[in-house]
Amino acid sequence: MWFYVARRFNLFVLTLAILFLLVFLMHKALPGDPLINLSGITNPTFHQLELLDQQYQLDGSVINQYLAFATERLSGNFGLSLTSAQPILNEITQRLPATIELCIYAMILALLVGIPFGVLAAFRYKKMTDLLIVSVSLVFYSIPIFWLGVIGIMFLGLEFQLLPVAGRLNLLYQIEPITGFTLIDIMLSDLTSKAQALRDAFFHLVMPTVTLALFPITVVIRITRAAMLEELNTNHIKAAEARGVSPLIIVLHHALPNAMQPVLAQVSLQLSTLLTSAMVTEVIFSWPGIGTWLMSAIYQRDFPVISAGILICAGLIIVISIVSDLIAIVGTTKRRSLRHGKN
């Protein structure tokens, strides 16, 4: 078992190295003075200039330029943002939790809604409910996320004024960002009207989470249905049916746990599309996360922020996909011979 963990770790290190290489090459191709693009300090004083030269070794050979760049970024120094002259690391720690929060709630919603419908569709295979679920998920799969968001704003937000459509919380509630997750921060804060703030934050969350979650829901439905169908035809289900076990227990207790392995494996592949959709959702609902931050950086041509954003997002995805691989491996080797697991 430890052999797999070692392989995964080596894969992780090499993939991160390749990611840093790609961003490093991007820096080479960026227009403008490379030192400004790396450090974000527009007119450095003489002292700062020395420090920067030592940090990024721009005059050295390409290899130790790359090494200097990598050590600098790994040690958390992403330089200053050109627009706000703040250290980028602070901005990231301020904005990353907002995006992660949105992605987590959306993924939870996707799993909570997707899996039951997937199981239902597989259970009642080739019947009306199955066709209905498949065709509805096909329709929602092909709705572009930004159009969905705009329509959501138009109808739910403006025509009927039911749900707030922008921001994370009514700004009158003064909450210090301790963990960066609104709901937890409200819990921790010593606000008088805490329940009121929670309710408001919850309403602010509904629209973006549903818009973001709709696409993953259809994907989870499709994956779960396929995995369940495959699982329901295996012999041990037939044997259980032969033993007269009730269909409910068969589906919930026997088929579902086995189908979870391929489902979770494929869901972790959907992470990069989830993050892209999250950034688009943030732009539409002006959610103060990495997406809005990166988008405004693009319009201002703020290169240090762009390279930091890419490193953080891609790094995040690699870490999460490797971790989910590890969990899948640890979970299955003991229970099922690898002949069953999907490679």
Partner: protein, 546 residues
Amino acid sequence: MNKISRLSTKLALVSAIFAQFGCSPAAEDNTQREQGLVYCSEGDPSVFNPQLTTIGTTIDATSNQLYNRLVEYNPRLGKLEPALAKSWSISDDGRTYTFALRDDVVFHQTKYFKPSRRFSATDVAFSFNRIITPTHPYHDISGGNYPFFNSIDLANTINRIEVIDPHTITFHLSSRDSSFLANLATDFAVILSQEYGDYLLSAGQPQLIDIKPVGTGPFILESHYKDNFIRYKSNDLYWAGAPKIKQLVYDITPKSTNRIAKIMTGDCDVSALPQSSELDVIRRNIKLELQVQTGLNVAYWAFNNQAPPFDRLIVRQALAHAINKRAIVKAVYYGSATTAKTVLPPLSWAYHRQLPIYEYNPRKARKMLADAGFPNGFEMTLWAAPAQRIYNPNAVKMAELIQGQLAEIGVKVKIVSYGWGVFMNKLNEYQYDSVLLGWTADNSDPDNFFRPILSCAALMSGNNRVNWCQPQFDQLLNAASGHTNLSQRVDFYRQAQQMLYDEVPLVPIAHALRFQVRDRTVGGISLNPYGGISFAKSHRITKKSF
């Protein structure tokens, strides 16, 4: 079966958590919501001191909220009212102004600075000397550029500021200037704290005076997250009575659709600059109230008069004929603006009615261009900032329209656009052929429309984007401001407008109406035609008095 029981307990736990969200008892006090007010502003203030800028957004966020002025202009009565100065007297030769100051005014108690003494004349001297005396320790802090005061050439008008005693101060002018008092009432002439200045100098952090402001205004700055929000706390020791609103938040939402969405869903209570395309939606919504203010502003298309071929009069006249102002007003302002004949809006008492106009005549424009040696037109750049302003809701769209109209006479236009901050810096390098800009009046004096944007003094201070300096034009302005009776001043201003018509350094396009949306439950927000919004007297109208 034990498996199923464990499953159901998990479900019960989850639903309990959600229940806690859903049914929060209505009795829970929402004082937080009642005593606060959220204002959706269209942009982030670049600095917290109005002396250093002429950008409308920064003035909205700072001058009426954080600071006070010696005198204030009351738009309804049309005359000046006492503010920090209880009373003032002008000598008969009109060159010495003495002000009697209030003695009950306290500066802000903030986290970063606790003042030990009250407001006194030394603070007034400190604030104005910073502008007029280059040797003043704070003159060059944060750029040392005071665009409004440079354009009205305050440094030469004021000879000497004399502090007589802690509550009286006299200004000795070099020559008679009838618009001096009006300029003191503008949003730029704010009073800073001299004690705070000395404190920062000793701490070696002088630039903080413009970033962490201390003033005498109704609100104190609590926190500022760039491009996100600004939070103010009420100043309970305010000399004109503590504001009813305990907490004021500026929610920065650049896109106007988002602002409308926020005000409709209750996320903010007042919203700035609604687009004219959203007016009928606002009128249909009973919860909202639309405030309309006649526009004392002008949007103009400025040529860079030094850059060829715009240094030739005939080219400028041809381009003036080539643009269809009516179409622009319909497409960009959706009809909520009037086409402009000259820089002065029709409401001003010095408006020149009989002035002829450059009517929209593409054939004539093409012929004039041919005479000027450009039979098949030429290439030119047109700069437009993506931000939204009172005088121009969508400069980029106006640029695209002009691009389309000039294409008909063979002129190929390349639109150049940057973020607002970067845009203003690059303008100072005068690399543009033409730019879409505008001006909002700061007081009722017509001089305010000519001197800050067209005078040679304005060229030095970098506010004259037309890059055009006519000494004869400046003499007209000085002569006008030298006399006090109206009829003589009107005659001088008419000659100035005639000169602008002949020279066409810029093409005035439109005077926009100014809108503001607010929730019916909010009252007391004054929409001053001459500049910044003020929340000093704002309050929540409780249900009964609705």
